[in-house]
Symmetry: C3
């Protein structure tokens, strides 16, 4: 594996989940794999879990890590080809990225979408340039459209908590006060579509995801109906894709509470964090045994470690 | 020792000082103790000495360190239970802290007081939540009311420079232009109350410290009288505790100058840094051999190392 | 070598270039030299290449690195002797620098000029204080007047690409939208004056460099004439030194394009990065094989490593 930007980059999803679980059981087994290797992490946006879990995963593998908060530590980057740089941006990605590539053995970048221009975001203009111009193995720390490290951690958590029957997984849209990217939802959908689960997506009309990622998953606009018989409920807000980046009129009853779980099959509840408590999800769920959010967060370490291991092995 | 938030957490103050001095003589003797362990340092406020000395102490013990400037690198944190998070805060401490706890083996947090609500600050609402929800050994990097790593470094410095007789130690309030927390003064007082010294506290009326920390130390409102026969003068500003967080009318003559030292027993002068030169302390003292401020700063490394060692040994 | 602030600190420029090339061939050969040593990097200004390449160089040598963004992570620093610190600055360099010195084995500082007061900048007031008050081996990460790590990387790159004849090197001023320091240009000039090359400096009238650094290099106001027969063209903007820190009326034709290279000896083009594309240099040059900018950036690692190695050996 040369890059990890989507489930499409993964040769064998089940094998990767099993590798992550093996690393979780024995985190320091491959400490020599990363010896004298440097991981460069570039953040164009804030990060808590991704920043820390990826660093720890790299350290488990014996790698050195250099973290760069792009605009704060370094220089404001320009991404437009042919730009006459007489404005606010100080360095072009065509110049900065090869430098990063020559300094580091593996590159990870977080680059959220602008949520202004759907086509630009969909084309992953920024990520594509980092991949192209660094020329090094690449791990997405969340891009404009996808967050595969999160989804791999989600898949690990589902596997650890899987019932004996084929589980019903419901991705349930939740209210929020800000326009939120689609990356976690898109990514969760495309990973679930590769696993042996039944995926149902529920959201108010107008919040349809890009079918490139949601695929053939059943969409059910009635949340209560969607939740019937669910084994897992993944709660997440996203802004409208159709009316790109907009928040449509919101019904606060979409916030998941314990009473929403009545019709489920004692569903476990998932969320990628950070979560807006009592807006997306109620306190009572997050603080109950139904919640898997901490297990998901913990598995971020081993998701990242499995990915870095595979990138290092092909290096 | 499972947490280090106050002198009350320390089983044996003298033994801890001796341990720090032994580490100072031989900093790399326990390099295997921290192997494959990660220290997570969270800063809700700026830090120079604490940030650097704690990192170096951890590295002496072979630990990895991850530093997080909470609001800048990560997400703005919410600390109120039951909050409906439809405002500026993005992640609740109940969700963020367990993640930190699952990623790291030891947690350190710096959380200054707001200086708005005395009761909230006194209850150490923020620190208590970090301790409770991370569930890991905890070292305070300065909390709302105490700064025990500083006080341990101060105690080490006093021990190294101790005269043969029982020393007289004067904590002398100093002017400042901003409302400053009580943590260093409180903490110094409670540590001195556990050592074999005579502690005198001097300040203008209205600046009385919380007696929970100053204990039975004699308070002398006349600075010159307080300084008579002093072996050590610890200079520090703090805002009013009674009129909470306020600066009362200030007399600039409280700034310590060389002439203030005339009546002392050739006192050595201490300050935790950063110091406002020629406001709290005159240049002439800071640049004279009377000053111990650099020795104090240097000892921060070994204070932190002794604490981390004890936290790791119980881990 | 106890400090690296200028070519004047280097006992043998050729030997240092050769040492850097040897390290490039075998980066991990001296991994035990930095064992249990800490490099402290202080940034008063942004940095991408210097920050990353110096960290990686230190890690190649087995050193630990602590990075401090001075005003953001720590406290705003005061540099005036005798200041009454009742304003915005929180800690005096006389207090902060010895602490850094006691925590770290080697210190590196980036401190750009203010470009307001020529004399203050020329005296390297800030750097001098860091050197004096830390008391430790010191590497400049770019000071008010010089950027020797960049120049050493430039000298390495020139050496690797040197033709058989004595090369003609042209330092060619370029347009820019902001007042830019003279450090890279000064430093390049003083290093070239120590190498076996012919140095020509070309710029519009009014942009004369401080002769303390440009020395006896020929100045040619006609850019096209200067470029004739050039083997290397180093493109760089700087503000006026005479009319200190000002931008004089600019002629955009000074931007280097491919057609400027017609009269050269198939010149290779250099720039320290970050570069304002299509303002200082055209895309067509930067994206052509004539460009050496990525080689220069890559050599920053080995420049820093050669310097750190020599500082550690004298430590």
């Amino acid at each position: 594996m040369r890059q990890f930007t989507s489930v499409a980059d993964v040769p064998d999803v089940q094998a990767m989940i099993q590798e992550a679980l093996a690393l979780k059981a024995n985190p320091f087994a491959f400490q020599h794999l990363g010896k004298n290797k440097t991981l460069g992490l570039v953040f164009l946006n804030p990060s808590l879990r991704t920043r820390m879990s990826t660093q720890i995963a790299a350290q488990h593998l014996g790698m050195q890590v250099i973290t760069l908060n792009a605009d704060k530590d370094g220089w404001a980057l320009e991404f437009q080809d042919g730009a006459v740089m007489n404005g606010a941006t100080v360095e072009h990605i065509r110049d900065a990225a090869p430098v990063l590539g020559s300094y580091c053995d593996v590159i990870g970048v977080r680059c959220f979408p602008g949520l202004q221009h759907r086509e630009t975001d969909d084309q992953e203009h920024i990520m594509r340039q980092f991949i192209r111009y660094t020329g090094k193995p690449y791990v997405s720390l969340e891009s404009a459209t996808l967050h595969p490290l999160q989804s791999l951690a989600d898949a690990i958590t589902l596997t650890e908590n899987r019932p004996k029957h084929r589980p019903r997984v419901v991705l349930s849209w939740a209210p929020h006060i800000k326009p939120i990217p689609h990356a976690v939802a898109n990514s969760f959908a495309e990973w679930m579509n590769r696993m042996d689960v039944e995926l149902v997506i529920t959201h108010p009309e107008g919040y349809e995801l890009n079918p490139a990622y949601s695929g053939t998953a059943r969409v059910e606009y009635n949340q209560q109906k969607a939740l019937e018989g669910a084994d897992f409920v993944y709660v997440k807000n996203w802004s409208s894709y159709r009316d790109y980046g907009k928040i449509l009129p919101q019904d606060p009853s979409w916030m998941l509470t314990l009473s929403h779980l009545n019709a489920t099959n004692q569903a476990r509840v998932m969320h990628c964090l950070p979560v807006r408590r009592n807006v997306e999800l109620s306190d009572e769920i997050l603080d109950s045994p139904a919640s898997l959010v901490q297990e998901q967060a913990r598995n971020r370490v081993f998701a990242a470690q499995a990915v870095l291991k595979q990138l290092l092995e092909k290096n």
